[in-house]
Point group: D2
Chain length 342, copies 4
């Protein structure tokens, strides 16, 4: 009862993580590894750590090979590259989980504004399901094309969804997401900014209130709220490899003051059936070390009269990318949701 | 024209930094080193890096020695310890710069709430001057007892003072200080929380909205504003040794919307004569690496209609502690303000 | 077909790692968690990362509970503590894998010299099998008591065994092991030396040629060589959490010059059936990143006329401790050797 | 009594350090900053940390400007670039301190072998003085052209010179230098190998026994010994920014066994007038933290019958490059040797 999967973009960070996870998944066989850059050869030569574990060749994408060998394809490609592959894969009858941003934003103009190119696959966009399992599990089950959420949006949305869903983020609320991410969030860009000597001992904000993940967060929250929700989003770069911690401030509108009474209880109830969201007891808050290497999202809450503070932590490469993609796969193929992820 | 200075608490982080700075100061001679713990011996044996530079013995505090040898005394002691020393030193006619929190808070009840002990020196408290040179230079000049500001308050106050002083933080404003600090802020506590294996690769919030520096920030801002100012303060622990970066969010009250028009210009003007505050050009923001090892505070600004974001960065051990103390000393003794600090 | 295992010392580094590995092992059920310190409670409260995964209580060691619930017991205790538990467990008919040093050294006087106490269980010592699978697999199969090797010895012995076994380390050879380890090698000691502010940005040697692992290395090599082998061992502390890299220099004696001709071939042959030793191609050398999180030992070789350089890398907590212990368990219970470890 | 100095290569690591040091030097004025890459503008815009301290423009090298404005020129250029500048500067009557490798190696064929290009300035090579003050102070005083030593050679040579000078490294000795360096040793290369995600948490050897600094070490030692000295040199990359620690093993030849009796005393005597070499007491060894940010070289010694272990530590950018260059300048211009360096 093996599922044959392929990965396009196998040599990037998220591709590497997908391989690591899927190698241990009891119901999956990796049958195709592809990448679009210059690197090629056996994956265990490209990543010596896979030696003695996986001999598969990593080649340029080969649709004929995919047609015969893969049932599901993960696209672990840079933004704007996925939409070149998804339509063809869907036309071959394959199911697709896309880890890029290409199928996340419903608005073409917002996509163009942030990703600097026109969207090429409006057909695909229509059928894409936003792959945040805690909110959209039912739709993911039957999806042909899943748009796996961004890392920052995963951490922000899981932190905000319960409050927004009870109307506290209605008109007049102020929502600030002060997010901090390890450098692997930037992929493997060989740029001065990501040199050890630049990152080590440093900390800085970047794309202050202009990051491409802000509209993704606002789109999902607005749907949940049933009205336009605005978020101030300031990402920062941590001198660590992996992990995101978001400190979220919600200044409630006067109309919402005092309700709901017990926010901690609200969160516990909202996530009570979710295997990968853990709510901290009162007075405790998450830390990155507890979630790195896992698919968990830990959430801590501090509530006061007019301001609520939510802190959420995830591993940006796992719950923020590759492990969440496998969680989506598990849902799509009716494996236990946490199969291969605990 | 040498000033003879002593340091009580010479073996802690801030004491060590004071020695480093003062060794290079052209008008200062270190004539007394004292500590209250068990460590004793020559300072160059306690800190091998001072070998070939300073042979002085570090002893238990010796008022007779201080009386004869020191003109100015730095108290680099833990909170609640300084108030045991300051009155005696003042009575000997010495001037004192206290790096602890003991003389910062005007309210005894707030002091007791956060530092868990009654204040013992109300007399000293009355004459203490809050040593933030950019706000209180005139008073520092003649101060007998300077309360050197906390590291977080320095970063928050320099980031907020110009806006608060023009009334934008009047009633109805929301002020959030999301601060991130390196671990040296915690001194040299030998506790599990500060082990390498706990800090490295991690990031977490602590004392969420309950940190003892919040009332210090609110006290100074309230004076500047002429009305009570409330701040939400959430500190976080960075996996680096030194540096604080504070991301400050000011939701302006409806009454203040749109004014002042040009906040960048406001900040440049406010700090135009200050040698240690540097305002970043529009679109640029500070990073910790640029201020570590210096007495500078770098500030960046992002303004929008109803929300202003201010980001400030300092070295917590320098502008946030020991170098600011030397800056205060320079002012008190009419040395050039940046003497020994550039 | 589950094996019920207990862990005494479940709250230390190696205990934590054992839990992590065994949770994913398809043939194992953790049925007892014990520790000897003050910490107690559910393991998922002690290590929040195990929340939603393992609810088991961690209690003081309880032999009655062990008697009924556990078949195999891991001792993840500090040195000198294990020998208080092993005899009793063996008398209950349990098999034991001891991760401490207590059953590694055959000489009581050397044990006493390095561990500062007399050995209390000479009976156990006699039946203990040194658990380095690549050298002693046959004996491990039937062992009642396995002495799991130290982390440094694992890295040194795997690097040296092939050369020593062909007689190159005969009289007159000089063997130097310049080893570098991450701080987790020191366990979770709350001491000044292991604070973040002491380790980060630093690097230093310690116990220069006096480390307790040197006699362990020499004992095994001497047996392999059939004559006394002397090793100069200098460990260093790396500013990382996990991993050991040993750079080993072998100055061959005149008698051995030029033989064996092809050392790389010798190593490949020696380890050809070993799933966890990977020999690098000529001109390539191991790095810690490739082995962290795995049970692999990577080895690189540079040979010249009279000096051979061997570089080996392992994860000190896995191949150097907990994963190697599970590898030994697999061998003892006839599970596939790499079961749960890939 | 100011010395006007220029720096060619002001935007690299060693150029940046030179500026930092010279800004605090009481007898120096920086009058020219030049670089050969694309970066240009005011140095305080290129390095924001110099804001409020140095406004000087950094331009392409301009010999006319140098002729008028600079008396001494530091060449902080990549290897093979310096020899394009030195001859012209010397012909203008300027004195030159070259921080590259261009004037260190006397043998043209060895230079060509390691730096992959023919040497272009044999005239300059003849008059160049090797700028290791502890060995060549007298020659440096009158040098026109100083070849500032490499960082690894500085740490190895200071560790080996006393022993070699008494003939212990005569024929038959084995000398191994196992060196570990922070990444700033590689300059500011924007390459995958130096990304934060590659370095952090990692440790590895590189250029095993093939590094270009080995012949530099052997050349100086051979001169000291009066016979050919061979060194096995294995550098490693530490996950820190700055610092080198070299662990040096000397297997004495049979002829030298037992002499000198007291190596610690030998070292103390050898360096007794040197302000920047500190010998550790018996049983203590250097650590990188004690020398980072300083011009000191700390040395620790462990001697046994036939093997001596020497451990030396420096800051690769300071004693290993820029501060040593300033030390040379002090000697050349008869300033106190440690002026501006303590």
């Amino acid at each position: 009862m093996n599922l044959n999967v392929g990965i396009i973009g196998a040599t990037g960070h998220t591709g590497e993580m997908l391989i690591e996870i899927l190698l241990k998944h009891p119901h999956v066989k990796i049958t195709g590894l592809y990448n679009t850059g210059k690197t090629s050869g056996r994956i265990c030569d490209i990543f010596p750590k896979f030696k003695n574990q996986l001999q598969l060749l990593c080649t340029q994408p080969d649709f004929e090979h995919i047609r015969k060998e893969c049932e599901l394809v993960f696209l672990a490609l840079p933004h704007t590259a996925s939409m070149d592959f998804a339509p063809k894969l869907l036309s071959l009858g394959k199911r697709v989980i896309d880890l890029s941003a290409d199928y996340r934003l419903e608005s073409n103009s917002i996509y163009e504004q942030f990703y600097k190119t026109k969207h090429k696959d409006k057909e695909g966009l229509k059928q894409a399901v936003y792959g945040l399992p805690e909110l959209y599990k039912a739709k993911i089950k039957n999806a042909k094309l899943v748009a796996n959420p961004g890392c920052y949006p995963t951490s922000a949305l899981l932190g905000l969804a319960p409050l927004v869903s009870v109307g506290v983020a209605s008109k007049g609320a102020t929502i600030i997401v002060d997010a901090k991410s390890g450098v692997s969030g930037a992929g493997k860009k060989v740029e001065k900014d990501y040199l050890f000597s630049e990152i080590q001992g440093d900390f800085r904000a970047y794309k202050v209130d202009t990051h491409q993940h802000a509209p993704e967060i606002e789109q999902v929250l607005s749907k949940l709220a049933g009205e336009k929700v605005k978020v101030t989003f300031v990402p920062h770069l941590l001198p660590i490899d992996r992990g995101i911690l978001s400190t979220i401030y919600i200044k409630k509108p006067a109309s919402a003051a005092g309700k709901p009474k017990d926010i901690l209880a609200l969160y516990k109830k909202f996530y009570k059936s979710e295997p990968f969201v853990r709510i901290k007891p009162e007075g405790e808050f998450p830390r990155i070390k507890d979630v790195v290497g896992t698919n968990f999202c830990d959430i801590g809450i501090k509530d006061s009269k007019d301001l609520t503070i939510i802190i959420s932590a995830i591993d940006n490469l796992l719950k923020g990318a590759s492990a969440q993609a496998v969680q989506n796969m598990n849902i799509m193929y009716k494996f236990p949701e946490s199969c291969g992820l605990l």
